[in-house]
């Protein structure tokens, strides 16, 4: 009997610990992320990033005339079911003003349903599935891009940079590669109508093959001025070296999975240097003063800057919530949601100015063009 009494009291103690009440001079912002589970690494970094962001704001005097930001973390284990439960847990706490939520698209989906139902602003930081903002939700936003932002970036930036009209797009028939190729083609559509660009080649290669010369010969005959490959690095490396062999000299641009250190190793420095890729900016490459301040603080506490692009979007989600609460002077969800949707435009953020579209997507998502330099390092192409 004693055993059970002990067990029960331990359980109640555990429940009690979870519900520490916040004082009146604070603003509580929730963070739902994969603190445990397969993506624990991402979740931990997001938590650390949000802590740093909150500290920076608090040090500058807080928001709403001196109120401090308190972070309330719920673990969703990177799993849809836990995500929905974590969301329930956060909406049940009346003092949570808004939530930074979450890393994976499939975890975000059920969680954002809960937030929407209970009218709580939730801002995704690693959720790139296009569909999430096509549900006409009032309270869902995201600070990161969408799966099709990369294609749009290519269309906006690359033809101009290389002064290229004749564009070749090559994919590898995987869900990711094909998706990116299709998005890119769709994004180029207006330019094609205006005769500013022309897709001279659009085809797939078979991943895992070693010899791509048949496809490449066809590519050569199309005479492209820039060549976009949306697949993975193993094929990309072989493609580039074989293309240079048969005399294709136009610039090579890879998607964000095409170029990494392994690419440089397989292709060899001679071939690899001068190859481009479209990619989300890595934290260290961000030029904004907010980014420098944030990364310095992060490095001072944790020894190194976040190794993945996503945690800084979590910090920015927290920043924009704090900004909206401060500027609108309200902690009411409906007011906040309207403010974020209509009034926020160019608010300062670590990843650049923040603004949202009517659907809740980030406006002007930052993507960068990276290039392999003479030492084989992958750096931002300025």
């Amino acid at each position: 009997m004693k055993k059970y009494v002990l067990l029960v009291s331990v359980l109640f103690l555990a429940l009690g610990l979870g519900s520490v009440h916040a004082a009146n001079d604070t603003v509580v912002i929730g963070l739902q992320g994969p603190i445990t589970g397969a993506w624990a690494y991402e979740g931990q970094m997001a938590k650390q990033s949000c802590e740093i962001a909150a500290d920076l704001i608090n040090k500058k005097g807080g928001i709403l005339g001196g109120k401090k930001i308190v972070l309330k973390v719920e673990d969703d284990a990177g799993e849809p079911k836990s995500g929905a439960l974590a969301a329930q847990k956060l909406v049940a706490q009346k003092d949570v003003v808004a939530v930074v939520s979450t890393y994976g698209s499939s975890v975000c989906e059920p969680a954002s349903n809960v937030y929407e139902k209970f009218k709580k602003v939730n801002i995704g930081y690693g959720v790139t599935a296009v569909r999430l903002t096509q549900r006409d939700f009032k309270y869902f936003f995201r600070t990161c891009g969408r799966d099709d932002s990369q294609g749009k970036f290519f269309a906006d930036f690359v033809p101009k940079k290389f002064n290229a009209k004749r564009i070749a797009i090559m994919h590898d028939n995987t869900a990711f590669g094909k998706g990116l190729a299709e998005d890119t083609r769709a994004a180029l559509e207006p330019m094609i109508k205006n005769k500013q660009a022309e897709i001279v080649y659009y085809d797939a290669i078979t991943p895992g093959e070693r010899d791509f010369r048949v496809s490449l010969t066809k590519l050569r005959e199309a005479k492209p001025e820039v060549w976009y490959f949306t697949g993975y690095y193993a094929e990309a490396a072989l493609l580039v070296s074989q293309a240079r062999d048969i005399g294709i000299t136009c610039p090579f641009v890879g998607g964000n999975a095409a170029i990494n250190d392994e690419f440089v190793k397989i292709a060899g420095l001679n071939v690899a240097k001068g190859c481009y890729m479209t990619n989300e900016p890595l934290p260290g490459d961000l030029p904004y003063p907010e980014a420098k301040e944030f990364l310095d603080a992060y490095k001072a506490r944790f020894g190194e800057i976040p190794s993945s692009p996503w945690p800084i979007y979590a910090a920015d989600a927290l920043n924009i919530i704090a900004y909206a609460v401060d500027k609108s002077g309200s902690t009411d969800s409906t007011v906040l949601a309207e403010y974020l949707r209509d009034k926020v435009d160019g608010a300062p953020g670590i990843t650049g100015p923040i603004g949202f579209t009517k659907q809740g997507d980030r406006e002007g998502v930052p993507f960068y063009l990276y290039v392999v330099d003479d030492q084989g390092d992958i750096v931002v192409s300025r």
Binding site: T36, E74, D75, P80, E109, R131, R135
Partner: protein, 333 residues
């Protein structure tokens, strides 16, 4: 000690019909006392109870190792998701269809391998579960949506007047299903099929020698277990409104396996306790975030050390000797 000091209460709890009424009443009142968060926890408790009950048929009753049960669960969930989003079939119509799809899959896959014993069968089921998950990730015929899964699944509804869309209604839906399942399985335990299953578990050779077609009985257990898991998948998919492969990992199969082991093989109350443990424990220890899985793991190890037979093991000999005596009241020894 406690029983002596509270004879009245002890008596009430020892009377089965009263006990069942009390527990049912508790389940009916519970959601009106707590917030949506706790209702949702009870809902997932229900899902795990159903999954536990479904595996209990295979693992508990017949003693066949199955570490791929999440595969059937996934097939139920994806059948619901795909048919609902692509063809607009109502969720409640898909409830039996999901069960059927999972059952059919179990029949086709296990027909050729049902003769395998013990750990060999375990490996097959393990592989089956992984194959299902990987197939879902690889997006066959563009149906399963790859790693992102399928989204936009409807609520279950009966016409326009009864739409299950709140936590409360989902709670009652799942526990209604669990209740009916328990009713059916209790009846099954005492039936010819149930006893044949137990016979096979205890001694398959002897069972065969007594004229039990162990092959079909084992297959029946798999098919029935898969069907129930399919039902769980259906409710789960409509509750979350989306399905994705990470809900059906090997870890999920392990959890379902643990439910049966913790509760006690073949014991229905045991499965409910096991499901409660699996679904409530991580939530109770949520404040400890990083350490909760550590606590969970150690609790499980302690459990296996001190109660290896499960919390509520099934009593051997379901048919009592006395009850066979008939009206005479004494055995003819």
């Amino acid at each position: 000690m406690e029983q002596a000091s509270f004879p009245g209460i002890a008596k009430i709890f020892s009377s089965p019909p009263l006990r069942i009424t009390l527990i049912t009443a508790l389940f009916l009142i519970y959601p009106f006392l707590v917030s949506d968060y706790f209702i949702d926890i009870a809902f997932y408790f229900g899902i795990y109870a159903l999954l536990g009950l479904s595996l209990n048929i295979v693992l508990g009753e017949v003693g066949l190792f199955d570490l791929g049960h999440a595969g059937f669960y996934a097939i139920g969930a994806y059948t619901t998701a795909i048919l609902n989003t692509k063809f607009g079939v109502p969720i409640l119509v898909l409830l039996p269809l999901s069960a059927l799809a999972a059952a059919l899959f179990a029949y086709v896959v296990f027909s050729p391998v049902i003769h395998l014993q013990g750990d060999y069968l375990l490996i097959v089921t393990l592989g089956m579960g992984e194959i299902v998950r990987l197939a879902l990730i690889n997006n066959p015929f563009g149906l399963t949506g790859g790693p992102n899964g399928v989204f936009g699944i409807d609520f279950p509804s009966l016409g326009a007047f009864l739409v299950v869309d709140s936590s409360l209604e989902y709670y009652f839906l799942i526990w209604l299903i669990v209740g009916l399942t328990i009713l059916g399985l209790t009846r099954l335990q005492d039936s010819r099929i149930g006893r044949a299953w137990n016979y096979i578990r205890e001694d398959e050779t002897a069972a065969n020698a007594s004229g039990i077609d162990s092959r079909s009985y084992k297959l029946l257990a798999f098919v029935l277990g898969a069907a129930l898991a399919g039902v769980a998948g259906n409710v789960y998919a409509s509750k979350l409104m989306c399905v994705s492969p990470e809900s059906f990992t090997f870890w999920e199969s392990c959890l379902i396996f643990c439910i049966v082991l913790i509760g006690g093989m073949g014991s229905i109350p045991g499965v409910l306790i096991g499901a409660a443990f699996i679904s409530l424990f991580p939530e109770i220890f949520r404040p400890f975030a990083m350490y909760r899985m550590l606590i969970f793991g150690s609790a499980m190890i302690l459990m296996m050390m001190f109660r290896p037979g499960g919390v509520w093991p099934r009593k051997r000999g379901a048919v009592q000797y006395e009850s066979l005596l008939g009206d005479t009241g004494r055995a003819d020894v």
